[in-house]
């Protein structure tokens, strides 16, 4: 096993354990903190792929900005352990079946996709995730989708301000 393999399995185990803890933590603040650790584990995977820009954007946007907002909301609502509504057993069981089916479906789809069959992931090397490559791709080949999505963001921002003013 090479170093990259060892790191891959360590990070994967870390991600899965943290993700499980998100679900089974009774305290919502603990759930949020475990979720931040999941994002860090995923960022570690990005580093293994040498996607440095992806890594750092994942940390800044998800672990840094979005989770801070989550924490804000949960802290201000001051949700207590006992005040959380307890769901019935049937509802829980339905959730498990539905989620499990989705997981099976996703794995099946990924396994049978012909485009990625017998393809090797570029570990440790490759320039595809570097900011230079990414910027050139976004501003030459994909400039129209890029600009359209920025307009979408702008309209979402304007919408948020209007809703906030009401």
């Amino acid at each position: 096993m090479s170093t990259v393999d060892i790191l891959f399995y360590l990070l994967s185990a870390f991600a899965i354990v943290s993700a499980t803890m998100v679900l089974i933590s009774k305290n919502p603040i603990h759930s949020v903190l475990w979720l931040i650790l999941v994002f860090f584990a995923i960022s570690g995977h990005y580093i293994l792929l040498n996607a440095q820009f992806g890594t750092i954007v994942n940390i800044i946007v998800y672990a840094g900005a979005i989770m801070v907002l989550f924490l804000f909301v949960i802290m201000l609502m001051n949700i207590k352990k006992d005040a959380e509504p307890q769901k019935q057993l049937l509802v829980k069981l339905t959730g498990v079946v539905a989620g499990g089916s989705l997981l099976t479906l996703l794995i099946a789809v990924v396994k049978q996709t012909t485009q990625i069959e017998n393809k090797q992931v570029l570990l440790k090397e490759g320039t595809i995730g570097l900011i230079l490559t990414l910027g050139q791709a976004l501003f030459t080949d994909y400039v129209i989708p890029f600009e359209i999505s920025s307009v979408l963001f702008l309209s979402a921002m304007v919408g948020a301000v209007i809703i906030g003013k009401k």
Partner: protein
């Protein structure tokens, strides 16, 4: 020495470098607390700490011993794990920034070429932003876990202030990055060493905005709203005692050192000594001169931070938000437009 496809020499070299930088920063932070009290004393025309050792030089040690010896109190209603995690996170996040700061040019030791930078990563300055945004958690978690209204309000203030000023900081920086065309701090400093001017000449407005945002990010006066005693008693670390409180106070000083180092590297040439040709002396001596130069620049910035702290009174909270969102961000966007236009016109 190649086990597990590793160059272990590199690992040892980096570990030593990390130890030196981390303990060096802690040492400087220790004496920054002393410096703060001396500067305050000079500005207020009084002697300041002068009892422990010659000129009071042992005062930081006395303070440290006092903090460690104090009784450790964890409030009964507090969330114990998060209460302990908070100061640790604040400290870790402030120390992590030092990984990408280039402290000097390369030195040669035992036939190895050693870079005086822990990691020269491709996305250097974005890494700093990621770490800064992690620093908010230390304050938020500590404030919430204390289970005290004042701590919670203050930590929310601190977080919203940090988020607001991060935007202006990022926008001010984008203008600089447009001229340097690189995110790596090493490359940015090398450009200034080789080029004729420091970046401050090209980006005066950008630097001013960055500096103001850095003041706000470090929770320094006039932006120390999270610690406004008359409204919030003591701030987010109200329930903390002993070394946990020390960690929070210390993290603030380390943040100051790191942001000074970043500003020196980004806008003031980093380890570049002006009017001096580094190629005339041996590389190792040149590197040492570089490290000394960067340290002097850092000390000057820290003095500026303190000067402002003991001169300007605190803002009101709405003034702070107005300044951040209605003045700084539009100015930063304006700066961005001007820079873009100048680059297009090839100036």
């Amino acid at each position: 020495m190649t086990i597990l496809a590793f160059d272990w020499g590199l690992v040892i070299e980096k570990l030593i470098l990390i130890a030196v930088v981390v303990f060096g920063s802690l040492g400087i932070a220790l004496y920054t607390t002393f410096g703060e009290r001396k500067v305050a004393a000079i500005l207020q025309d009084r002697p300041g700490p002068n009892r422990a050792g010659p000129f009071g030089l042992l005062q930081p040690l006395a303070d440290g011993i006092k903090l460690i010896m104090k009784e450790e109190i964890i409030p009964t209603a507090a969330n114990k794990w998060l209460f302990i995690l908070g100061p640790g996170l604040a400290m870790t996040a402030s120390l992590m920034t030092c990984a990408v700061i280039p402290w000097g040019s390369d030195i040669e030791l035992f036939g190895r070429k050693i870079a005086l930078q822990i990691a020269d990563i491709n996305i250097g300055i974005l890494y700093v932003f990621a770490v800064v945004s992690m620093g908010v958690y230390g304050i938020m978690i500590g404030g919430w876990a204390s289970n005290n209204k004042f701590s919670l309000m203050s930590s929310l203030r601190a977080a919203s202030q940090a988020i607001s000023y991060e935007l202006a900081m990022g926008l001010a920086l984008i203008a600089l990055l447009m001229t340097t065309e690189s995110l790596s701090l090493k490359t940015i400093v090398e450009q200034q060493v080789q080029g004729s001017w420091w970046n401050i000449v090209y980006q005066p407005l950008g630097f001013l905005l960055f500096f103001i945002a850095a003041l706000a990010e470090c929770n320094r006066t006039p932006f120390d709203l999270p610690e406004a005693e008359n409204e919030l008693n003591f701030g987010y670390h109200q329930e903390y005692s002993s070394m946990k409180l020390g960690f929070y106070l210390f993290a603030e000083y380390i943040n100051m050192i790191m942001s000074s180092a970043i500003m020196a590297s980004m806008y003031f040439g980093g380890y570049d000594l002006p009017f001096f040709d580094e190629s005339t002396v041996a590389p190792n001596i040149a590197a040492m001169i570089g490290v000394g130069t960067l340290l002097i620049k850092i000390v000057l910035f820290i003095f500026l931070f303190m000067w402002i702290r003991w001169t300007i009174p605190r803002f009101r909270y709405d003034q702070l938000m107005n300044l951040g969102w209605k003045t700084m961000i539009p100015l930063a966007l304006f700066n961005l437009l001007i820079t873009g236009a100048l680059i297009l016109a090839n100036l």
